[in-house]
Amino acid sequence: MTDLTRRAPWLWRALLLLALALALLPTTDLLRLAGSLDAADGMVAIVDDLPPESLVLVGFDPDLGTYAEIRPTVRTLLADLLEHDARLVFVSLTPEGRALAIAERARLLASAVAPERLMDVGFVPGAEAALVSLARAVDGTGDGLVAGLPDEPFALGLVIGGNDIGPRSWVEQFEPRVVAVEIVAVAPTVLLPELTPYLESGQLRALLATPRDGAAYRESVAPTPLGDFDGPAPLAVLVGVLVAVAVLGFAVVSGLGDSLRSSRGREPA
């Protein structure tokens, strides 16, 4: 490999440009990111059942590293909720989530969404303690230090996960204290194993936690005036996966070969 690089130093740059060019090509029917559309049924049904002017509490705590995976799904879901005349109340329990919430609110406000539909409670420090205080404020058992909540019942809790305080914390701390507000979540794939039991027990009413589920949800929702969020091109994903498989596969085969040779070398003659 090193010899090849020495002979053709432009090779890596050419491969990178080729990969970028492939990612820009239009998608064909052969490639498809979405899995079964059934995966999105739960979320679609819940959003469809929301009465007009519903108040939705949005716990916005993704992290910068994994937000790219769920961003198109989150944007589609927020747009769909607004399309169903819901009013969103943003709250963040982590600084990183707060920064991303500021960006998403700014984007929606720039898309001419009325500010009264995008209320902002802001950042509440204290991790789980903040979540308990928020639950008490929503439940009306205590105002605590969480200010800015509207004095109306919430119809739904939407948790955008990724950070330490995500859907699991909401199920543990918020859901038992505010049983009237059901929780749905969008989370990166890495959180799926810890969230699946909550989905099966009904503590999470709906969950979109893999790129395939997200793509299925985006296909299930009609484009809104706020935009049509297609997500990454399947060809771009394919190129990335193939590059990763090639690099790692080569390393594994080489490693296995080395391991085999060294074990043979240790065998007694």
Binding site: D29, L31, R32, L33, G35, S36, L64, G65, Y67, A68, R98, A99, L100, I102, A103, R105, A106, R107, L109, D120, G122, F123, V124, P125, G126, A127, A129, V132, S133, T141, G142, G144, L145, T189, L192, P193, E194, T196, P197, T210, P211, R212, P234, V237, L238, V241, V243, A244, V245, V247, L248, G249, F250, A251, V252, G255, L256, D258, S259, S262
Partner: protein, 205 residues
């Protein structure tokens, strides 16, 4: 010599919050609310202290020209820009459009770019870990290759089969291992909490 103040505080607050969770009682609820609000205030104070320490450290780096004074200056400039945008007269705090612009147009794209580099650095790190010759590394990276193949975004029957296999892998073997770790951590936390509540050992152990 053991100091009982902190364990006593932990026991009192822990029992109070637990009792409030289990028993519906207004007075208990108000007491628990005070404890929870105190935790929030302490967390906010700790965050502010952290920011203050960061400013002091970076200002010192700039002043004494040690470490990375350019980077330290950029950190201070970034903090100052957000503070000025959010706290200038007439500004709307964190909801101010200027703060939104700084976050949306500068901070998030820079952060996303850095995380985008993870694609290259993670592959490189995985390859190097296999090169060290460890069997665990080969198994780990080999499993990653199998999962990546399951995530190939193709359509049709083959795509459906791959998707079903990927879902099974995430929900059964990976889910089982992950939940096993979570249950183990939870048991350890429960044991540690019980030891603290019962006064066995010290919180500094």
């Amino acid at each position: 010599m053991r100091r009982p103040t902190i364990p006593a505080l932990v026991i009192a607050v822990g029992v109070l919050v637990l009792a409030d969770f289990l028993v519906v009682n207004d007075s208990l609820g108000e007491l628990a609310g005070v404890a929870i609000d105190a935790a929030i205030v302490v967390a906010a104070g700790a965050a502010l202290a952290g920011v203050g320490a960061l400013v002091a450290r970076r200002a010192n780096d700039v002043w004494r020209r040690r470490g990375d004074p350019v980077g330290a200056g950029l950190v201070l400039a970034g903090m100052a820009a957000v503070l000025v945008a959010g706290l200038r007269p007439g500004a709307e705090g964190a909801s101010d459009p200027a703060v939104g612009w700084i976050v949306s147009a500068l901070m998030l794209p820079i952060g996303a770019t850095l995380f985008g580099l993870l694609f290259v650095t993670t592959l490189s790190a995985a390859r190097r870990s296999v090169d060290t010759g460890g069997r665990e590394a080969i198994v780990l990276v080999g499993s990653a290759v199998v999962l990546l193949i399951l995530l190939v975004p193709i359509g049709g029957t083959a795509g459906d089969a791959l998707a079903a296999a990927a879902d099974w892998a995430l929900e059964v073997p990976i889910g089982a291992v992950f939940r096993g770790i979570l249950i183990g951590v939870a048991v350890l936390v429960a044991v540690f909490a019980a030891r603290t509540l019962l006064g066995i050992g010290s919180t500094d152990d």
